[in-house]
């Protein structure tokens, strides 16, 4: 079962939230970030090449122009492979754990899996980000030493940065699954 909704992020860009419901104990959320636009790409390339041409008129060295081309190409490849995140996925499996995957524009995927035994709770926190106050969803991890303490806060959807309405959707579904998991895992 799959449905898609449209939200916006904190800067106003369009986000698409895809929710896949596999079973009552397994849920997947996929948040797609705004794509790289032709306008920004053209703007950056033109700036770099104009600067290189300006240097060339000063120095009369053609190496500057070829260096500018290389820098633009390598910079674009590096940006697509290491910086630009295409979509972020959150997979919650009851009694197994929570998995976060970030897929980059070049296809690279980086995954983190947190076992359910380490998860204390999933909450929405407030944070001050530059001049704004934003909300973000995060996982609270248990402290192994202290039973009710929190050892670490793992923020989710850091590149997409959705607004509160999107976060509430994800939060409700997560809490359903966590409540179900807590109900079934209490020791007899």
């Amino acid at each position: 079962m799959e449905d898609e909704q449209s939200f916006s992020d904190i800067c106003g860009g369009r986000l698409a939230l895809q929710r896949r419901f596999y079973s009552p104990s397994c849920l997947e959320f996929c948040l797609s970030c705004p794509r790289i636009t032709l306008r920004s790409l053209t703007a950056v390339t033109c700036t770099v090449w104009l600067a290189a041409y300006g240097l060339f008129t000063l120095c009369e060295n053609t190496m500057i122009l070829s260096a500018a081309i290389f820098i633009t190409l390598l910079g674009l490849l590096g940006y697509l492979h290491f910086v630009k995140i295409d979509h972020e996925t959150l997979l919650i499996i009851d009694s197994l754990g929570i998995q976060m995957t970030s897929s980059y524009a070049s296809g690279k995927e980086s995954t983190t899996f947190i076992e359910m035994g380490q998860v204390n709770d999933v909450v929405i926190n407030e944070a001050i980000y530059m001049q704004k106050v934003i909300y973000y969803l995060c996982i609270l991890l248990k402290d192994p030493v202290e039973p009710h303490g929190i050892s670490q806060v793992v923020p989710l959807f850091q590149s997409a940065k959705p607004r509160l309405d999107c976060l509430i959707e994800v939060y409700r579904s997560c809490q359903d699954i966590l409540a179900h998991q807590k109900a079934t895992s209490t020791s007899p």
Binding site: Y22, S25, H180, P188
Partner: protein
């Protein structure tokens, strides 16, 4: 609700899957999540709980049989290790499992049945399955089933109390997690952080469910020793059942490693005994050995080689990795050293270097003389105290003159020395670099001497100035209380003190300038030596074997796991694929870094500046508590 569910359970058991003959299957009834009856054995299931079954991908196409593995009650998950095929004799299966349990300390039992059917099952097989469940009593009892040629799976986990009360049985939902057995067997989990205050008792609980799965598979090697070509009583299906994995080269290397290690260990112990003999502990020799970084590097390498070729087997995987990293590092070092040697000899660079060395030393001395002449004049427009200037300048010039004569005395022997030093590159590039660093230290010895003279003079002056400044203000340093106290001086004390203070203040610029110039020169030499040492440290400590393993066999070093949801149809159980998430390169380097000599500067920038200001001598690196020239 209860009657209907019980009825569905009965029907489900009746039309169960085929076992060894392909019978025509019906559509297997959807496993309805029925709550278990009261009186179900405690501790194994709770209402609506989902059980996890870890199933190896190699067994997904195996013929029908029994599932053999381990049940982990804390995570309510079953780790399937192998499939026992029909026909079998239950007694023999139990014997085999007992053997494996004894050999590996893993609680291997029969978990359930597996059927891979083509057509509809026969009626009698349903009862046969029930009978199996009675022979191998395990709660919960899994029944996995797959239609041949399609992707539809079904699985049930039942708890029944036995034939006496067949009605009191419950079913749980099962989640199938596929894993690659070979990769999970070979991989090693690296937990994110190891907490310091963890007791030994709760390692398994806090280690997490997935670490238990990895542990189970890794320790059950005894189960995977027989393949399908063996004529044993029981026929198993697992990752090695198509044939045991082995390599001739590895076996030969293992066989040859014993005597070779023994021989090399004896040789190395001879060398270390020779180097530890009393002759080398006499004062002048031991002083020189402690100063040279070459000796340090050679000692480090000797230690590493002793560890690699020791005849004791590595106890833990971390130790094995360390040995492998050291071996690869030594081999790379020697390879780079031989390349350097061939390059030097090909271009006859040693002769050219020897010819160029004396003129370079002369040139450096000449530049220093010019510098001193400049300081003795009016450097940068500053006005120096003439007398002190002349004294210091002449003293340093005489020193340079001595140095030049010494270099000229050594000149006939330089080429021979350099040639022998070049030969030492075959011991490794690090040794050659350490020798280069030592040669630089020896050639700039006069700069070091000038720095020490300048620093001592300046330090003396600063201490005198601070003490006399306190006198000027009427205070005194209390050595007992380690603080400044007021003190009443006599008039003549004050007079002499103020006079001396004035003299020192007016002589300060001259001394400070000499100190500044020679400190800068010394820092330059230290920076060059530091760069060389950094390169040597890099070669020493980089874990190349681990990096290569991460590049070529990423599943061996696992940071964790990742899951992928496979095709899902409603009514069928949820199927996940568990893959290994490899360790990032930065963590590989951080975890498997080899220990180095530890020749890193121990000062922070603040303390360095403080020492420079007060004229204290800087020793940029300390090796094992000794000072470096």
């Amino acid at each position: 609700m209860g009657l209907v569910s019980r009825g569905a359970a009965e029907a489900g058991r009746g039309a169960a899957s085929a076992v060894d003959r392909p019978g025509p299957p019906d559509a297997v009834p959807n496993p309805t999540p029925t709550p278990p009856a009261e009186g179900a054995d405690p501790g194994s299931s709770r209402p609506g709980m989902v059980l996890k079954a870890f199933f190896p991908t190699c067994c997904a196409s195996a013929d029908s049989g029994l599932l053999v593995g381990r049940w982990v009650p804390e995570q309510s998950s079953a780790v399937v290790l192998a499939v026992v095929h029909f026909p079998f004799i239950p007694i023999q299966v139990k014997e085999l499992l007992a053997q494996v349990q004894q050999a590996s300390q893993v609680g291997v039992t029969v978990l359930g049945t597996w059927c891979h059917r083509r057509q509809e099952p026969e009626e009698s097989l349903g009862h046969f399955l029930e009978g199996l469940g009675a022979i191998f009593s395990h709660r919960p009892w899994f029944q996995l089933c797959r239609e041949r040629g399609s992707k539809s799976w079904s699985c049930k986990a039942t708890h029944w109390q036995g034939p006496a009360s067949p009605a009191a049985s419950g079913e749980d939902q099962v989640m199938l997690i596929f894993y690659d057995q070979r990769k999970v067997l070979l991989s090693q989990l690296h937990p994110p952080t190891a907490l310091p205050d963890r007791q030994a008792g709760d390692t398994t609980a806090s280690a997490g469910g997935l670490a238990a799965v990895f542990d189970t598979v890794a320790r059950s090697e005894a189960l995977f020793q027989s393949d399908r070509f063996d004529e044993g009583p029981v026929r198993l299906s697992h990752w090695q059942s198509e044939g045991m994995e082995a390599s001739i080269l590895v076996e030969l290397a293992k066989w040859a490693a014993g005597p070779v290690c023994l021989f090399l260990a004896c040789l190395l112990s001879l060398i270390s005994a020779a180097s530890a003999c009393r002759v080398f502990k006499l004062w002048p020799l031991s002083f020189i050995w402690s100063k040279l970084s070459t000796c340090e590097q050679l000692r480090h390498r000797l230690e590493q080689l002793t560890l690699i070729f020791s005849t004791r087997k590595a106890e833990s995987p971390a130790q094995l990795m360390r040995k492998a990293n050291m071996l690869v590092s030594v081999l790379l070092d020697v390879a780079l050293g031989l390349m350097l040697l061939s390059w030097l000899h090909r271009k006859d660079l040693i002769g050219q270097l020897a010819d160029a060395l004396i003129p370079v030393a002369d040139r450096v001395a000449e530049e220093l003389q010019h510098l001193l002449q400049w300081l003795m004049g009016a450097p940068a427009g500053l006005k120096m105290n003439r007398a002190l200037d002349q004294v210091l300048g002449r003293f340093f010039l005489y020193h340079i003159h001595l140095w030049i004569s010494y270099i000229h005395l050594m000149s006939p022997f330089i080429e021979r020395i350099l040639w022998h030093v070049g030969l030492s590159a075959c011991l490794g590039l690090t040794v050659a670099l350490s020798i280069l660093s030592d040669i630089i230290a020896l050639l700039t010895f006069h700069i070091y001497c000038f720095y020490v003279y300048g620093a001592r003079l300046y330090c003396l002056k600063i201490h005198g100035l601070s003490s006399l400044w306190r006198l000027f203000r009427g205070k005194k340093w209390n050595v007992l209380r380690q603080r400044v106290d007021s003190c009443s001086y006599d008039l003549d004390q004050l007079f002499i003190g103020t006079l001396l203070f004035t003299i020192l203040v007016f002589l300060l610029p001259t001394t400070a300038l000499y100190y500044l110039v020679f400190t800068l020169l010394r820092l330059l030499v230290v920076a060059v030596q530091g760069l060389i040492h950094l390169l040597v440290d890099l070669i020493n400590s980089l874990p190349l074997y681990s990096l290569g393993l991460r590049l070529c066999r990423p599943y061996r070093l696992a940071a964790g796991v990742k899951f992928r949801v496979l095709e899902h149809e409603t009514g069928r159980p949820l199927r996940l694929l568990m893959q290994i998430n490899p360790l990032p390169y930065s963590r590989v380097v951080h975890t498997y870094r080899l220990p180095t000599c530890g020749c890193h500067p121990k000062h922070s920038w603040g303390s360095l500046c403080r020492k420079l200001f007060f004229g204290e001598l800087i020793y940029p690196w300390r090796q094992r508590g000794n000072k470096q020239d």
